[in-house]
């Protein structure tokens, strides 16, 4: 067993255990922390695949920005108390069964497929380096890159508009 395989299985077990704990644990803050562990494990997978740019972006954007936003919202609303009411056991069981059925279908499909035993290039290849990705991004994909800035602007305006306190409904003007 090579060092790459040991790292792969270690990171996979870490990601799966953290994901299960994220779903199962009661407190939202603990859930967010487990999700951050999942994101770091997935970044480790990206590094194993030599996709260095995506590994760094995953840590910065997901674990750094998005999860801090989630933590801010949870702490802003003071949700750390276990406020979730008693859940219906039947609904939990049905959700577990349906998710497990989907998993079984996917696994059964890939065991029949012909690509299942193809090898993945683990260490080598320079396609995921920042230099190559930057060249592709700013030559072939420059228009989607610019459009994504418009998307960010509209998301920012939308978040501000939605999150704003609606004072006009309290004090109707005109009359």
């Amino acid at each position: 067993m090579s060092i790459t395989e040991i790292l792969f299985w270690g990171l996979s077990v870490l990601a799966l255990c953290s994901a299960i704990l994220m779903v199962a644990v009661k407190s939202p803050v603990h859930s967010i922390l487990y999700l951050i562990v999942v994101f770091f494990a997935i970044s480790g997978h990206y590094i194993l695949l030599n996709a260095q740019f995506l590994a760094i972006v995953n840590i910065i954007v997901y674990a750094g920005a998005i999860m801090v936003l989630f933590l801010f919202v949870v702490m802003l609303m003071n949700l750390n108390a276990e406020s979730e009411p008693k859940k219906n056991r039947l609904i939990q069981f049905a959700g577990l069964i349906s998710g497990g059925c989907l998993f079984l279908v996917i696994i059964a499909a890939i065991t029949k497929s012909s690509v299942a035993t193809e090898m993945v290039q683990m260490g080598g290849g320079n396609a995921g380096l920042i230099k190559n990705l930057g060249m592709v991004l700013f030559t072939d994909y420059v228009i989607p890159f610019e459009i994504s800035s418009v998307l960010f602007l509209s998301a920012m305006i939308g978040a501000v508009v939605i999150g704003k306190k609606e004072s006009s409904t309290v004090t109707p003007k005109g009359d």
Partner: protein, 110 residues
Amino acid sequence: MEIQWYIGLAAALFCIGIVGVLTRRNSIIIFMCIELMFNAVNLLLVAFSKMHAASAAVQSNPSVVSDAQIFVFFIMVVAAAEVSVGLAIIVMLYRNTHSVDVNFLNRLKN
């Protein structure tokens, strides 16, 4: 590493996300499960791109491998924009109902 292990890992993460969406009632945790599903798909895309990098047909045109990773990058961009709007909606929900339980969102039912 064979591609089937990556497919299995991504499918397992995706199904854990689906089980979370179906069973939890806290809207913030449902939102985080959606992020988990995004990440499972991203991991699978990167693994497939590296699988094609090893195949012989791609060796003549190496920019095909970069395309998949650019695609993952744009998925992350869209996810970041989606999270900001979604969290604003959850904050507004909390302000109106003083709860983040999605079962209170059944006013369209009647």
